[in-house]
Structures are given as C-alpha cells and as structure tokens.
C-alpha cells in the first residue's frame, strides 16, 4: 500500500490500485441516492492527492492549501457567473492555471523558509486570499457567496443534472486523470528526488540537486491539482462560498490525509471517504456533536496508527505474511 517510488520500485499498476475506481463505478449504479455525496468525496480525494504530493512526498508542511482550492473554486465561479465563460473544461483549465500561478508565485517566496515559519506563511497566504474574497464583494459575492454560476453541458452534450450524475462521472474522470498524473510523477526520477528532499535536503544539496526550484515546481503542480478540485466543487454545487478558503477547510483536508495515511497516494483516497461518510452519518445522528466523533477518530489514529488507516492495513498484512 505504501508507494515510495524510487529506482528499485516496480512502477507497474497493481490490480488492487484499480479498486477505488471499480468501487466508484459500482457506487454510481448501486447507490444512486448517494451520488452527490460521492461526487464530493471524489473531489476531496483529488484535493487530498494534491496535498499528499507536497506533504507526503516533498515534505512541505502547509496549513494554507485551501488558498489554491479556493482560488480554483472562485475562478471557475467568476467565469461562469460574471464573464459568460460557461464551458466546464475551460473553467477547469482556467481555475487550475490560476491556482498554479498562485502556487508558483507564493512558493517562490515561502519555500525559502522551513518549519514553523513556512507553516505560518502558508496560513497567512490562505488568510490573505480569504480576506480578498471577503472584501471583493462585487465579483465574489463576499460573505453571501457567489451564486448564479452557469456551467454548460460537457462537450455540449452532457448537462449537469439535478441528481448529480453527470457531475459524478465528470469528477471521476478528472480524478482518474489526476491520479494517473500524480502516480507517474511519484514513480519518476523527479518524484524520487522529491522523496530525497523530504528525507534529507542537506544531502540532496550535496548531490547537486537544485532543491529550491524542485520544491517550487512541485508546489505549483500541487496547486494546479488543488485548483482543479476547487473548480469541480464549484461546478457540481454551482455555488461558491468563503468556506472554501477558510482555515477550517485546510485543517479538514489535513485531517483527512492523516486519517488515510500521508505519503501513500491511497491515503488520499481512504481519508476523505472515511471523513466525509463519518461527517455525513454523524451530522445526521448527532447534529450538535458530530465533530466529536471525527475528533475521537483522529486521536485514535494519531495515537495508535501514525501511518493512518492504511498504516494499520500495512501492519496487519505484514503480520499475516510473517505468520504464513
């Protein structure tokens, strides 16, 4: 389950890696009433993948990833609501590009720092984006959010329906492409060098690696993916509010990834599934105290399974193999 890449790793896709996509297709047909929740989960998986790329593989600690998700969400929304650009793929591309540019621009500044300074700077950038979105009411809708977003049918053929089926398939396809890209990146020499930077940046300098440009590059790539995820949330909801940029959104994403397992690719799949289903279930059962359940789950994982849920699975598989 652990995907470390590198020069001794087998990069071929194993059968088990297709499981999430097979399950997603099965859910589409077997659980039609949960399709909107399913689309939300798919979007958050893509979002969590983007975070795993920088946190799990490159070792960049951040609390401000919502800046890219939020910018992507707002760019797609503004194009659809204010500028008459309704083609979903154009909105998606513009959102990803805008988030990527923000990632490169901010990464070039903040990635010269490390540790707590870096953490605070990422938080500051997300807060700045939040405040800009809050103040620029004429284009963002401010605290009321941006509504009236028009999203045309995909390729002029597939209309976003009220049951969310088109949105689900659209999100699944974008997630699949995002996953293929992230996986290829992780197993590539570039991905191996990122792992090297995470493991020991001092040594990477000593082998002649341009550490800082590589970090800025992967930060930009991650921002592109997060921006695309943000566009998807706007397109499927046809609404965007300030919550996409908030600290809570960034914190929740981090919690999802930690729950699933950081630096494992598929931790980004498991975390959002567990978190969002638990959130959906607990919010219905215990509307006032549902966060307590999430909190307890996180405490258990952090205390007893530092590799997240996939870490528990890895440990169990290893024990079974050693007994066999």
């Amino acid at each position: 389950m652990s995907h470390a890449g590198g020069y001794s790793a087998d990069a071929r896709i194993r059968w088990i890696e297709w499981t999430p996509f097979v399950a997603a297709i099965a859910c589409f047909f077997l659980l039609p009433e949960y399709v909107p929740l399913g689309a939300r989960i798919l979007i958050y998986i893509l979002y969590a993948l983007s975070l795993d790329l920088i946190l799990g593989y490159a070792g960049i600690v951040t609390l401000g990833h919502s800046a890219f998700f939020g910018v992507g969400a707002y760019v797609a929304g503004i194009l659809g609501a204010k500028m008459g650009i309704t083609d979903p793929l154009m909105q998606l591309a513009a959102a990803a590009l805008a988030a990527g540019l923000l990632g490169i621009a901010t990464g070039a500044v903040i990635l010269r720092t490390t540790g707590l300074t870096l953490l605070m700077l990422t938080l500051a950038i997300a807060s700045l984006c939040l405040e800009i979105a809050n103040r620029a009411t004429t284009i963002t809708g401010g605290a009321d959010g941006l509504s009236g977003i028009v999203v045309a049918p995909i390729f002029g053929l597939f209309r976003f329906d009220m049951f969310g089926k088109t949105g689900y398939v659209y999100c699944l396809i974008i997630l699949f492409l995002g996953w293929l890209f992230v996986r290829r990146l992780i197993y590539s020499p570039f991905g191996a060098s990122l792992t090297g930077i995470r493991e020991n940046s001092l040594r990477m300098h000593a082998v002649g690696a341009p550490v800082y440009p590589r970090l800025v590059t992967v930060y930009g790539i991650s921002a592109v993916i997060a921006g695309a995820a943000g566009a998807l949330i706007t397109q499927t909801n046809q609404f965007v509010g300030l919550n996409v940029l908030g600290f809570e959104a960034a914190g929740e994403l981090l919690v999802m990834l930690i729950l699933g397992g950081v630096g494992r690719i598929y931790g980004a799949f498991v975390g959002p599934i567990v978190f969002l289903i638990a959130q959906d279930y607990l919010a219905k059962q215990f509307p006032e105290y549902w966060y307590l359940g999430i909190g307890l789950l996180l405490v258990v994982v952090v205390m007893f399974a530092r590799g997240g849920i996939l870490g528990i699975v890895d440990g169990a598989v290893a024990r079974l193999r050693s007994k066999a």
């Binding site: 590198g6 590539s188 020499p189 570039f190 090297g196 082998v207």
Partner: protein, 250 residues
C-alpha cells in the same frame, strides 16, 4: 602537478569571532591529503566554505582553476566537488541502491524527468549497483539504510559521493563512530578509490590519517599551523604541543 582545489586568503567570521583566518590551501590532482586539528580548529567550517554551505567573509576558492567562491552548492557539485558528512546524512528510509541512485541521476541529468518511471532508467540502477558492489555492499543494495550497521552506512555515504564522479572528494571524518574492525574496512575502501580523485580527509583517528595521507595540514584556531608529509608533521614540536600530545606517531 595540477591543482584540483585551492583557497586563497580564506576567512570566516561570525561577528567578532574569527573561525578561519587567511587560509591558503592547495590540493593537487590525485592527492591524499588530511586536514587535522583539535576540536574547534575550524575544520568543518573550512569544509562548509568549500562546499558552499557557508559563504566566506573574505578570500577565494578555486576548483580546477575556476573561481567558485560565489557558486551555489549544486553548481559546485556539478563542477566536481563531492563530500561526505561527519554525521551520516543519508536517506534513511530509502534503500542503499536508491541512496546512491539519487546522486547518480543528478549527475546524469535525469533527476528532473517525469515521463518514464525511475526504475526504467536502467543505466542509473546498474551504475549504482556496480558502485555498491565495489564497496562490498552488493548484498545490502535493497536494504533500507537505517537497517544497515553503522559501518556500512558510512560506506553508503562514500558510495553516494563517488556516484557523483567527483574530481575532489572531501571526507569529513569517514570513520567517526565506527568500531575499529569496521574502520579498517573503510580504510581499505579509501585505499582503493580511483587515483585521479583528489581526496581531502578530515579525521580525528590519527592511525587512519597517518596510514592514508601523503600530506597533512594542521589547522589550529582557524589558522594553518603547519603543512607537510606525515613524517614532518609527526616530528613537528608545535603539532605535539597543540594537538598530538601523547598520541603522536614516530
């Protein structure tokens, strides 16, 4: 003899504290040179200035005749300056093979590629395996470094540096913390390193220094006290006074 590495009037100060003062140093091509001195002599500061970790306050550094004083760390490595660290600086959770391959890939200029999987770059893997085999680590190539004994980890340090095909190799206490039996193994490896590489070893193990080096520089409080052959250094009364004490070799 060609000069592989040279410093001219190299100085480093931290505020009022001077840790390197006017160091003139020459390392010939193919040299086996040791830099010794008591704790706090400025040896590691000197190495950090050579490798670009610290910027000198004054003076110049020339590598193969080119001025690299203002070059970045990566640029110095690409020009042929390799190093090992006093305390292991390895990719602890990666295999020995990946540790070496990361350096080899950088040298070959493929480390930023994204299209093919890393494992499909066979030339990197084969060169790394060959290098590990020459250091007696063939059977450990697929072991995670943190699972290897400390002596073997020190050899992986050297293997990473050799993977860069350096013209100048700086070995910062390669036998530090290694049991006597394993330090013999390290000395064997050092003796077999390609003759064309100029090697500067910084070491506290006087036995290893005097067996390995053909020339020794003694650094005391950031100043070069004396430089000479091992016999000359062993016979120098100033060295006895400030550094060797009772340990000196006849």
């Amino acid at each position: 003899m060609n000069v592989a590495l040279e410093t001219r009037g190299l100085c480093k100060s931290f505020g009022a504290l001077t840790v390197a003062e006017n160091i003139d140093f020459r390392l010939e091509t193919g040299a086996r040179h040791a830099l010794i001195g008591p704790n706090g002599a400025g040896k590691t500061t000197f190495v950090n200035m050579l490798t670009g970790v610290l910027a000198p306050s004054a003076g110049r550094i020339l590598l193969g005749g080119d001025d690299i004083t203002d070059a970045g760390r990566a640029a110095r490595v690409k020009r042929g300056l390799g190093r090992t660290f006093q305390i292991n600086a390895l990719f602890r959770h990666l295999t020995a093979l990946d540790n070496v391959a990361l350096g080899v890939a950088e040298r070959r200029g493929i480390a930023a590629r994204v299209w093919l999987p890393a494992s499909r770059h066979r030339e990197v893997r084969e060169e790394s395996l060959e290098l590990l085999a020459t250091l007696g680590l063939a059977d450990d190539a697929r072991q995670r470094v943190l699972d290897l004994p400390y002596g073997k980890q020190r050899l992986v340090e050297i293997a990473i540096a050799l993977g860069l095909k350096p013209a100048v190799l700086l070995l910062d206490e390669p036998a530090a913390g290694v049991p006597k039996a394993e330090s013999e193994r390290i000395l064997e490896v050092l003796d077999r390193l390609p003759q064309e590489i100029a090697i500067l070893i910084i070491e506290h193990d006087m036995d290893l220094v005097f067996r390995f080096a053909r020339r020794i520089t003694v650094l005391v409080q950031g100043v070069v006290l004396v430089e000479g052959s091992p016999a000359e250094i062993a016979a120098d009364s100033r060295v006895h006074q400030v550094y060797l004490g009772e340990q000196h070799h006849a």
